[in-house]
């Protein structure tokens, strides 16, 4: 690791503002920031680690020539990567990089779920890719491991993990809802293991409205605040398709069944899903 370079890992569920943070901060003085750095490699490591196929030591060994090397050769004061994949690797990353900070961006699970569901149909938990991974998990001897391509490596829980027994019967919407809830659980539990000054969790909705919170967040990352950041967040960014998709009644019911308790835990209790103006 570069002597003075401090790593910052910006984590979240995806479709929650991690890429927005990257776009907003890229080029900032003293910061080298990436979005989903070496994603194909990291996502596979993260999924294998979550699913118990890769030990913590092995995960660290695999991350070392990737993020480890990048941070080692970095010249800026802060080296950051915003990536939902890193959410599953907080524990090994925290141990590998003792000065690293973790910023979690959490967004209303209904908006995350509808965004993934409608706008990334072929890339996230599509039926075919899930079946391929599931089949391989059952027979790792005679079948080749799925390639390190994004669509294959979305976590499938073991039966002893959150809703692991029910997961095989989930449709795609339920899988996406599960991802959000489980991602939030992983982040909050891993954050609880780290010192307070190394972790910060903010809700995207508050970050866009509360400039003071934004200032504190930028300060946490370790760079200077610029008022343009607040302006930047007033417009939706990283918009794949500028249509505001809402969950249907049936989808909302399915979502709440899986992610309702986590919604409460993340402070979204009683709030209506909001509309996004593009």
């Amino acid at each position: 690791m570069g002597t003075h370079t401090k790593p910052v890992f910006i984590v979240g569920s995806g479709r929650s503002g991690t890429r927005t943070m990257f776009r907003m901060l890229t080029g900032a003085e003293g910061l080298e920031i990436h979005h989903e750095y070496l994603c194909n490699a990291i996502q596979r490591i993260a999924a294998r680690y979550y699913m118990g196929l890769t030990s913590e030591d092995e995960a660290k060994r695999l991350i070392a020539p990737l993020h480890g090397a990048a941070i080692h050769y970095a010249s800026d004061a802060v080296w950051a990567d915003s990536s939902n994949k890193l959410s599953w690797l907080i524990r090994p990353l925290g141990e590998m990089f003792p000065t690293a900070k973790f910023l979690a961006i959490v967004r209303d699970g209904r908006k995350v779920t509808s965004s993934f569901y409608y706008k990334l149909r072929e890339e996230m938990y599509d039926d075919d890719s899930v079946e391929i991974l599931r089949t391989w998990l059952r027979d790792q001897v005679s079948l080749p491991e799925p390639p390190p391509e994004k669509r294959y490596w979305w976590n499938i829980p073991r039966s002893d993990q959150f809703l692991g027994s029910a997961f095989p019967n989930f449709d795609r919407l339920r899988r996406v809802a599960w991802h959000w809830a489980e991602n939030c659980r992983e982040i909050t539990e891993r954050f609880a293991e780290l010192p307070d000054d190394r972790v910060k969790l903010v809700r995207l909705e508050e970050l866009t409205r509360d400039e003071e919170l934004l200032k504190r967040t930028i300060d946490f990352i370790g760079i200077d605040y610029d008022p343009v950041y607040s302006d930047y967040l007033q417009t939706p960014r990283n918009v794949f398709v500028p249509i505001d998709f809402q969950l249907t009644r049936a989808q909302e019911a399915a979502f709440q069944e899986i992610a309702g308790p986590m919604m409460t835990r993340m402070g979204y209790v009683g709030e209506k899903a909001y509309h996004v103006s593009y």
């Binding site: 909705e205 794949f240 398709v241 500028p242 969950l247 009644r249 909001y274 509309h275 103006s277």
Partner: protein, 398 residues
């Protein structure tokens, strides 16, 4: 045929009161449900037949003659699974543009094909080797008795003046034990919440549900060998075998079918009306703003597109490109918008493709992804966004 003197084709019960009259019918269509057996059929005012091509979402849709090609792709797998190697004579009922016929010619060149089709304009196979083309409707054709070892009857029975008579004619022309593949639209599909196209079009006399079709086929002297269902809610496909003796027509018990079909049609009329009103909101709040931000292509130039234009107010400035695999080449344009081949997506590189289709919706979406389109939206899901969302517009803009 006049609605005032109509009787049920299956059980001859007089059909006295119409349940439904679709918009923009050129034939004054009135839809009846038989109070005894539940068969749904249309009655018509006298009309002058025309072959004007329209892609209308209303009852006047017709004469494009591409539906059978679409359906052949869907049922082809079922036909491929049959052993036709020893079949010497095949009957193609309503041979249309010859999709099935050409397939048979390639795979079973030994077989003679009788092709019955009234619309000569689309027949380019009349002189093909092994093809015996008969111009006209099947009911008017002079078919030999007990000749055919296989009958392909796809999306035709619903057009007949008498479904019973057509099935009986086919039965007589089939060899004992021969198979018929029968495929018709499924009236049950009108129960879908996202329907915007008129189901009861001028071209269709009969509107089968799985129960009434099965009864009709069995009463005509067939046993159902392989009913198919579930995978395509929009059509009923079955394989029927001619059994030795043609039984006396009977067995049209009342059951709940008459009431079920009547309720289905009433609910459909209400849903269709409401959905068409919602199309304007869909265009205004979703599709038009989208087109202002991104290059949007529509895949599907048929009836849903017509509904979006006619009832939703979609205009040529709301889209970048309109493509359709089947209609491109058959129709140069619709509403002044050129219909292009899907392959042209490569040239125009739209950021979003909106799929306007029914049973082919997922297949088209997959095809669009395969062509490198990253963002593909389905009409059914878009309509849900103005009909069935869990919340009303609220609070926070992000």
């Amino acid at each position: 045929m006049s609605p005032t003197s109509l009787s049920c084709d299956a059980c001859a019960t007089p059909l006295t009161s119409a349940f439904y009259s679709p918009l923009h019918s050129r034939r004054g269509v009135a839809v009846f449900v038989c109070s005894q057996c539940g068969l749904t059929q249309s009655g018509f005012q006298p009309y002058a037949r025309d072959r004007r091509q329209t892609l209308s979402a209303d009852a006047d849709w017709g004469n494009v003659r591409h539906g059978k090609g679409l359906r052949f792709e869907a049922v082809c797998g079922l036909v491929e699974g049959l052993d036709l190697s020893r079949v010497t004579d095949i009957l193609d009922v309503g041979s249309n543009r010859g999709d099935f016929l050409r397939w048979v010619q390639q795979r079973h060149p030994h077989a003679a094909i009788w092709a019955v089709e009234p619309d000569e304009r689309i027949v380019d196979y009349r002189h093909s080797p092994g093809v015996n083309y008969r111009k006209g409707k099947l009911e008017d054709s002079d078919l030999p008795q007990e000749k055919f070892g296989f009958v392909y009857n796809c999306q035709t029975l619903e057009h007949s003046n008498s479904a019973v008579a057509m099935l009986q004619t086919i039965w007589r022309a089939m060899r004992p034990g021969a198979l018929m593949l029968l495929d018709v639209p499924n009236i049950s599909s009108i129960g879908h919440s996202d329907i915007v196209e008129e189901f009861f079009i001028d071209k269709h006399v009969f509107h089968f549900d799985p129960s009434s079709l099965r009864r009709l086929v069995e009463a005509a002297g067939f046993e159902i060998v392989s009913p198919r269902g579930g995978e395509d809610p929009f059509n009923i496909t079955l394989l029927a075998r001619k059994i030795e003796m043609m039984p006396e027509p009977s067995g049209y018990g009342q059951g709940t079918l008459p009431l079920d079909n009547a309720a289905l049609i009433r609910a459909y009329a209400d849903t269709l009306h409401r959905n068409r009103e919602r199309l304007a909101r869909l265009v205004e709040t979703k599709l038009r703003p989208l087109a202002k931000r991104q290059r949007v292509a529509y895949w599907g130039a048929g009836r849903i597109f017509d509904a979006l234009v006619k009832y939703g107010g979609l205009t040529s400035s709301d889209l970048h490109l309109l493509v359709d695999k089947y209609l491109a080449g058959l129709m140069p344009e619709t509403h002044g918008i050129p219909i292009q081949r899907p392959e042209t997506l490569r040239l125009h590189e739209p950021q979003v493709v909106i799929v306007l289709a029914r049973s082919g919706e997922s297949a088209i979406a997959s095809r669009a992804y395969a062509m490198g389109i990253r963002h593909v939206l389905k009409f059914s899901e878009l309509l849900e966004q103005v009909t069935d969302i869990a919340v009303t517009p609220a609070a926070i803009d992000l």
